[in-house]
């Protein structure tokens, strides 16, 4: 086969063009730090990267959810703790009131304090979170209790998905905490204590201690439930964080370029191109005439 001048030039051209393309791609990778800048570079990795991206976004949503509900749960816990403090004070008052040495004026002022405690407790039961009343169940736009201490909300649960496939209850049933039909109505208990203090019959005041103790236990029960909710949210949050870290690593492995590898490739290509050019110069200048 005859090797013509044109053919030589064509060969050199093709080789240099191919090397140029590879060099452009390598320098793009090295400068951007991204290996998967085009889907066609590695379609399979692009497919996986897009799925990883979807999981990562989902994880971030779960994390936001957890932060949101954690705020609410911590408010609930605070309210219940304050409620328990108030009930502890009410117990002291009941003890004092049951003492025969007190006169009716003393009892009246104690009754006034109990009234205040009851009002404060109703206010606590009507604590608002980031999106409405915390103890009203799903009726987040309605105060949990009216001034008479009657439950206005409902007992349905608020559910939240905090990890793929893991849906948990994130609210405390207000009725169960403050006015349980099977337990004590805390507000009624305080109202009747107040009434008995006003009438001043010590034999009627003393039995309220049991009622207040049960109220205290009921609130404490609800508080440990809200602690349990916070705990679950925290656990879910920690495992999500680990999951997110793993996903980010996976995504980086799929999408990002290895800096050392890309720089080595780029340097190697630059050398190859220089060699190709000097080979071309030698072959083109060689012919019989100028030998």
């Amino acid at each position: 086969m005859r090797v013509t001048e044109n053919l030589r030039l064509l060969n050199i051209n093709t080789t240099l063009a191919q090397l140029g393309e590879r060099q452009a791609e390598a320098s793009r990778r090295a400068s951007s730090g991204i290996r998967l800048d085009q889907v066609s570079t590695d379609p399979l990795a692009a497919d996986q990267a897009s799925r990883v991206q979807a999981s990562l976004q989902q994880t971030q949503t779960f994390q936001r959810n957890i932060g949101f509900f954690r705020d609410n749960a911590s408010k609930v816990e605070d309210s219940l703790a304050q409620g328990m403090d108030l009930l502890a004070r009410a117990r002291e008052i009941a003890l004092q009131g049951a003492n025969d040495s007190l006169n009716s004026d003393n009892r009246a002022s104690l009754a006034l304090e109990v009234k205040g405690i009851r009002e404060q407790l109703i206010a606590l039961a009507n604590t608002r979170g980031t999106n409405g009343y915390l103890f009203s169940g799903q009726k987040t736009d309605t105060a949990a209790f009216d001034q008479a201490g009657v439950f206005q909300g409902n007992t349905a649960a608020l559910n939240a998905e905090v990890a793929p496939g893991l849906t948990i209850e994130v609210n405390i049933n207000g009725q169960e905490a403050f006015a349980s039909p099977s337990g004590v109505n805390v507000f009624d208990e305080l109202a009747s204590l107040e009434a008995d203090l006003n009438t001043g019959t010590t034999s009627l005041i003393a039995p309220h201690l049991t009622g207040i103790d049960s109220s205290f236990a009921q609130l404490s029960n609800a508080r440990s439930k809200s602690g349990f909710i916070m705990n679950r949210l925290d656990t879910a949050g920690t495992s999500l964080e680990q999951g997110a870290l793993a996903l980010t690593k996976r995504q980086s492995a799929l999408v990002d370029a290895d800096p050392i590898e890309t720089i080595t490739q780029l340097t190697a290509l630059n050398n190859t191109i220089q060699q190709a050019i000097s080979v071309a110069r030698n072959t083109l200048s060689q012919n019989l005439e100028r030998f």
Binding site: P43, A160, E161, L288
Partner: protein
């Protein structure tokens, strides 16, 4: 001809009268005094059509005979590859909208109304991705978003919103076999694969073209060394011939001189 062969597959032959006949895309483009021009248009389904038009303006559809050159490549990309990807995107958008609608219709908005669709998919699967939009009833009415699973749970119940978010892991796509993210990933990979195989194809074709070029060059091209040698060869032959002539001349001269004495 070389320029034309980049656009369509061209064949030529010489007819009985010694005229060159040019065929392109199955149609006779040039024969003697007659010629046809190529024209490109779109049919009703949006597919590319190629016509051969005579001087008088009569058109014939030669689309299916165009198999090579830039024109065939554009047709492949436009009618086959882009169309296929567009179709899978449309199906995906339609599946997402339908799945969301079904779940959304089961829930209750703040006003206690149920059965509202979130997206308008009345246009069907065709061009669903392009036409995807909120249902007309929903526009400007965020209170109709059905987050609650029951009307008694309003306004705090978010169980239907929860169910909507769980669609992310539901297999509603590709005939109920894939989740949304999986389908989207597959579409992405499909685009990448098509481009990759096109790049590979083009490399192979370039190699083939180079080979054909080399073959043509070896017949019609010039190698300087070879010509140099030929040149030297003929120059030497010429010198040898001239030497023969000189010798013969000298012989004759000697003969004539000795005879004339």
């Amino acid at each position: 001809l070389q320029d034309l062969s980049k656009l369509v597959d061209v064949r030529t032959f010489t007819n009985g009268e010694g005229q060159l006949v040019v065929l392109g895309g199955g149609a006779t483009l040039v024969e003697g005094q007659n010629y046809r021009t190529l024209e490109v248009g779109l049919d009703t389904a949006g597919q590319i059509q190629v016509f051969a038009k005579t001087e008088t303006g009569a058109k014939s559809d030669i689309s299916k005979y165009v198999t090579g050159g830039k024109l065939a490549a554009i047709m492949q990309v436009h009618d086959v590859d882009t169309a296929a990807i567009q179709k899978s995107l449309d199906t995906f958008a339609f599946d997402v909208a339908t799945a969301v609608n079904t779940q959304h219709q089961a829930g209750f908005g703040l006003t206690g109304v149920s059965g509202n669709a979130l997206f308008d998919v009345s246009g069907g699967v065709t061009n669903a991705a392009q036409h995807l939009k909120l249902d007309a009833a929903m526009v400007g009415h965020p209170e109709l978003v059905a987050a609650s699973a029951t009307s008694s749970g309003l306004p705090g119940d978010a169980d239907n919103a929860l169910a909507l978010s769980q669609l992310a892991n539901a297999r509603f796509s590709a005939g109920g076999t894939q989740t949304g993210a999986e389908t989207l990933g597959s579409i992405l990979a499909d685009v990448g694969n098509r481009k990759r195989s096109a790049e590979f194809d083009s490399q192979v074709r370039r190699g083939m073209a180079d080979q054909v070029f080399a073959m043509r060059e070896s017949v019609s091209g010039v190698n300087l060394d070879e010509e140099m040698i030929s040149l030297t060869k003929f120059q030497r032959a010429y010198e040898a011939a001239s030497r023969v002539l000189t010798t013969a001349d000298q012989l004759l001269e000697g003969l004539i001189n000795s005879l004339g004495r």
